[in-house]
């Protein structure tokens, strides 16, 4: 396996990181809680990148990691990681933006896109006029909508099991990429805090208990990040291992998301437990990602099915 990034990929990562750092600060995330419009300037910048959804999963995953790092709100993920790949697997061409509701699950950012692709059984309805309800969630950065039972206008297309499997695997990898990005953010915040917080006359990062906790967390995050990249690679090369790899990626990413949140608060101590501190913004995003599109157990069950086949 050759994990070296191309120059273009390195540039993509750098560009994404810089753009998102500038356009998606924690104060914007807080403003966005009460006013979705606060993320409009961010979306204006990200729209140009949605075509990543038509290209290699590797590049999209690299970009999604950066999105997760800043907990970026807005319909980028819905359009690039869900809708465009669905269009591609069905061989449909479309200039519209979209989101996807898979088998009764909520659709992200349904109010900011042209089309909601509703997957039910082996049919996809491309609804342009559906009743939607914003669902209260713990994660304000990802606005989820419940779709009404009878979406009105829209073309219906059949989707086969293998097409669903391909699309879902790609979606899981993108979601996993977002999750490891957020987990890494919390790891970085915790390491930084451990270096600056003084107690007993020394930085708490010099205590072995803190060092070991962060070393373990770093392992979990690094391992998950690599698993996501590998899965993206297998998808791009249509490797036989891609379905298993996608389950591994999502399970590993979920674990990293959970651990980074818990250990992040622990390292920060009392202050990490406050609303005022930014940590919880990322905990919420991470938990949202970890529960969405398959929990640890769901993906472990799928891995077991493959191992015991």
């Amino acid at each position: 396996m050759d994990f070296t990034l191309t120059e273009e990929q390195e540039l993509l990562v750098e560009t994404a990181a810089r753009l998102l750092r500038d356009e998606c600060s924690p104060s914007m995330l807080r403003a966005h809680m009460d006013n979705p419009g606060a993320a409009a300037p961010l979306w204006a910048q990200l729209e140009a990148f949605t075509e990543l959804g038509d290209g290699p999963c590797t590049d999209l995953a690299l970009f999604c990691e950066q999105l997760g790092y800043v907990a970026a709100p807005g319909p980028f993920f819905a359009d690039a990681a869900l809708y465009r790949p669905l269009r591609q697997v069905l061989g449909i061409h479309d200039e519209r933006t979209g989101t996807v509701a898979d088998s009764g699950v909520y659709a992200p950012d349904a109010d900011q896109v042209d089309v909601i692709a509703v997957i039910r059984d082996h049919e996809v309805m491309f609804a342009t006029d559906a009743s939607t309800r914003l669902v209260p969630t713990a994660d304000s950065t990802r606005r989820l909508f419940a779709i009404g039972r009878e979406p009105k206008a829209g073309d219906t297309v059949a989707i086969a099991d293998d097409q669903l499997r391909e699309w879902r695997s790609r979606a899981w990898v993108a979601a996993a990429a977002d999750a490891v990005g957020t987990a890494r953010r919390m790891l970085d915040m915790s390491v930084a805090y451990a270096k600056e917080r003084i107690q007993f006359g020394v930085p708490i990062g010099s205590f072995q208990a803190i060092q070991h906790k962060l070393a373990d967390l770093a392992l979990t995050v690094e391992r998950a990040t690599s698993a996501v990249r590998y899965a993206a690679l297998t998808i791009d090369e249509r490797d036989a291992d891609r379905f298993r790899a996608a389950h591994v990626a999502k399970a590993a990413a979920n674990a990293a998301a959970h651990q980074a949140g818990k250990d992040g608060v622990q390292v920060h101590g009392g202050i990490g437990y406050t609303w005022e501190h930014d940590l919880h913004l990322f905990i919420r995003r991470a938990e949202g990602s970890a529960h969405w599109m398959g929990t640890v157990n769901a993906h472990h069950d799928a891995i077991a099915d493959i191992l015991f086949a």
Partner: protein, 390 residues
């Protein structure tokens, strides 16, 4: 990013596979088993095999042919390590000579000492490493074996412990204290000690699974020629870093492949025990698989950094403690699946139980030997995450 390695390795891989198909001994497959018997720790087939590898340039591929290699690139070396791991074929059943002594001599030794390297790599000379002592484990620099310095010789008094292969070694690569009056790191020297020298006593050490692959080594007034000093006097601590630098980025491959083999064994064991439909066991195995698969990806991520010039990729700092702990957990699950008979070796299941039991016990050493998990975490925290020393 790509799954394969590209054209540079095609021919190399074909040649390797042909060579292994023709020459790899049948006994090698059994030797990979964690629980292989220790009655003959370095059997003749293994000596012959190591020599064959050397003579055909497949012992350390990155080295030149005189040193048992073929001037392979880092990527070719990785392909080699992958293939050997995949087939479960060990290069050698005693690592000190080729993995530590030869590279150290080649890097730090005099021409006469460098001339010892080929025999070390070929396995003609069996070496042991005299490092740990009863009072110097994780704190290796605290070693006390004293080497009094004279014009023409050193005189050794002291004790080494956990010395693997001491019972079979002709030579010892010994780290000794040549100056007790300076800070501990600054008074250490590296000596080549002939194991036949009068005054050396070897006592095999049995470990918890019953066998004895290592030993205590006692030195009483052991005389070592001055020429046997490797490097400069009192500069030995720096030399503890000597190892196959170009293979460091692939050291994890063998450990990981062993874990994958054990996980396959767990799947088979679950079936044998009628546990393959139990959600709990299915998830436990899936969890182990998920972590080993992601560690495999992490290893390759580190290799990518290595080929891009990172001498000690941060990704690889995790591999030793991560793989050893994961493997321990695999064996623990195996023991759990054996049920009430887990600690008993009886009946139709005896052979399997014996293997799992022994593997489980032997795995307790893996998180201690070669750097404890605790020390490894300290290293990650301080060198990778940049946290301050306590």
């Amino acid at each position: 990013m790509k799954l394969g390695w590209g054209p540079e390795v095609g021919e190399f891989q074909t040649e390797l596979r042909t060579f292994l198909d023709e020459h790899a001994p049948a006994e090698a497959a059994a030797a990979r088993n964690f629980a292989a018997s220790d009655h003959d720790v370095i059997p003749q087939w293994a000596r012959d095999w190591q020599a064959t590898l050397f003579d055909h340039g497949w012992m350390i591929p990155a080295y030149s042919p005189e040193l048992g290699g073929r001037n392979a690139t880092p990527t070719q070396t990785m392909v080699y390590l992958e293939e050997m791991a995949r087939r479960g074929v060990p290069r050698s059943l005693h690592f000190p000579g080729y993995a530590i002594v030869a590279p150290s001599l080649l890097e730090f030794g005099t021409p006469e000492q460098q001339a010892l390297a080929p025999a070390a790599i070929r396995g003609d000379t069996v070496w042991c490493i005299g490092m740990s002592e009863p009072n110097a484990g994780s704190d290796l620099a605290g070693l006390q074996t004293r080497a009094e310095v004279f014009d023409d010789r050193f005189v050794l008094n002291g004790q080494k412990v956990w010395t693997s292969y001491a019972m079979w070694a002709e030579k010892c690569f010994a780290y000794v204290r040549t100056d007790p009056n300076v800070p501990k790191h600054k008074g250490i020297s590296l000596l080549i000690v002939d194991m036949n020298t009068p005054g050396i006593e070897i006592r095999p050490l049995r470990h918890i699974s019953g066998s004895a692959e290592f030993a205590e080594v006692f030195f009483t007034e052991v005389e070592v020629p001055r020429d046997n000093l490797v490097g400069t006097l009192n500069d030995g601590w720096r030399l503890t870093q000597g190892s196959l630098a170009h293979e460091r980025a692939g050291l994890w491959v063998d450990s990981l492949v062993r874990i994958e083999t054990t996980i396959s064994d767990l799947v088979a064991l679950a079936r044998d025990r009628g546990l393959d439909t139990d959600t709990g066991y299915r998830r436990a195995i899936a969890s182990l698989y998920e972590r080993s698969a992601s560690l495999r990806a992490l290893g390759y991520q580190g290799f990518a950094q290595f080929t891009n010039g990172a001498d000690a990729p941060s990704e690889h700092q995790y591999m030793k403690f991560a793989t050893s702990e994961l493997h321990k957990e695999c064996f623990e699950l195996g023991m759990e699946m054996l049920g009430e008979l887990g600690a008993v070796i009886d009946g139709e299941f005896a052979e399997a139980q014996g293997r799992w039991l022994r593997s489980y016990f032997v795995s307790f050493a893996s998180t201690i030997a070669g750097g404890t998990s605790e020390i490894q975490r300290n290293i990650v925290a301080q060198r990778v995450l940049g946290l301050p020393r306590g």
